[in-house]
């Protein structure tokens, strides 16, 4: 707790809360990262669920690099946003729910990659997507949507700092 109070009073944390530009700029990165992670995850899930059947799974390889880049950008910008409110954020339910949903989204993407292991090079026409992969794809869509809802709610529900 003392550490969080110290963090809140650092020059950077104070600047993030009080400057005109700190928050908007960090949120720009957070929005671009979100679009990359969620957008690419949605498109890959659509493919797994049977959309654009002529596309092989390997064709998405380069996009996964971009999605990981977006994820790293959001982890970094997310940490900066957390540093701006180190005492209020961890007691905001929407923030905690968002973190849990991101973990679940990550786990479903991992489960999806496990369920599709060895199928990357299968020609698109011969690919039979197992049911487990489809379930994981739906789960990832649901969890990303949930994370976006919870993230949007943080701004509306963040409370006063604990005494």
């Amino acid at each position: 707790m003392e550490f969080l109070t110290w963090l809140e009073h650092t020059e950077f944390s104070t600047w993030m809360r009080e400057s005109d530009w700190g928050h908007p700029i960090v949120l720009c990165f957070h929005a671009v990262g979100m679009a990359l992670v969620v957008g690419i995850s949605f498109m890959f899930s659509a493919r797994v669920l049977g959309y654009a059947k002529s596309v092989s799974l390997a064709a998405f390889d380069q996009l996964f690099g971009l999605a990981w880049f977006g994820f790293a950008m959001n982890a970094a910008s997310g940490i900066v946003l957390l540093m701006a409110e180190p005492r209020r954020m961890p007691v905001t339910p929407a923030f905690l729910i968002k973190m849990i949903l991101i973990v679940f989204a990550g786990l479903s993407v991992w489960a999806l990659s496990r369920a599709l292991e060895g199928m990357e090079r299968v020609p698109a026409g011969e690919l039979k997507v197992p049911t487990g992969a489809k379930v994981s794809a739906v789960a990832s869509i649901v969890f990303w949507c949930g994370a976006i809802v919870a993230g949007r709610l943080i701004g509306y529900t963040i409370g006063p700092p604990p005494v």
Binding site: A31, V32, M34, I40, M43, S54, V55, A59, I148, V149
Partner: protein, 167 residues
């Protein structure tokens, strides 16, 4: 009717009144706006990166088959955008970030229209590993740039609330 009359009229429409009185409509609209932009960006990435020469293992026809996601995302964001605007037209209208964002959406639309009318049928037969023409690549590069700027300006919009110019 002057500009102010029109803005007042929009503010007083039943939509504007409803959004301002509701506790949840604006926040729900914002959440849908994020989902819409994710769909738009996800779809446009596949189309534009393929045209630019990445994602070579996707035939152009397959890449272009992701366009419906872009259109659905755009429609979601246009509708939720109208909802935001109706709630507070006097804030949005003079806002320079809003004006530039709308202008860039217009440019992105014209760019997409030109591609559809001039290049779409030449692009469709391009198979895996086939290169797009320079004209197509310029169009795809512009599209990615416009949408990235639209996203950033949208995010920066509240920071320009109350200003009438960027400087």
């Amino acid at each position: 009717m002057t500009e102010a009359d029109i803005l007042h009229w929009i503010r007083d429409t039943s939509l504007g009144v409803a959004v301002r009185q509701s506790r949840w409509m604006f926040a729900t609209g914002e959440t849908l706006h994020f989902l819409g932009l994710s769909l738009l960006v996800g779809g446009i990435l596949i189309v534009d990166l393929r045209i630019l020469g990445f994602l070579r293992h996707i035939s152009m026809r397959s890449a272009l088959s992701f366009l419906p996601f872009v259109i659905v995302g755009f429609v979601i964001n246009m509708l939720t955008g109208i909802l935001f605007f109706a709630a507070d037209p006097m804030m949005y209208w003079p806002n320079p970030a809003f004006k530039l964002k709308m202008f860039l959406i217009l440019l992105a639309g014209i760019n997409a229209l030109v591609f559809t009318l001039v290049e779409h049928r030449h692009a469709l037969p391009l198979g895996e590993d086939d290169q797009a023409t320079t004209f197509m690549k310029v169009s795809a590069g512009l599209s990615l740039s416009f949408w990235l700027l639209v996203l950033l300006l949208g995010r920066l919009l509240p920071a320009f609330e109350g200003s009438t110019s960027f400087l």
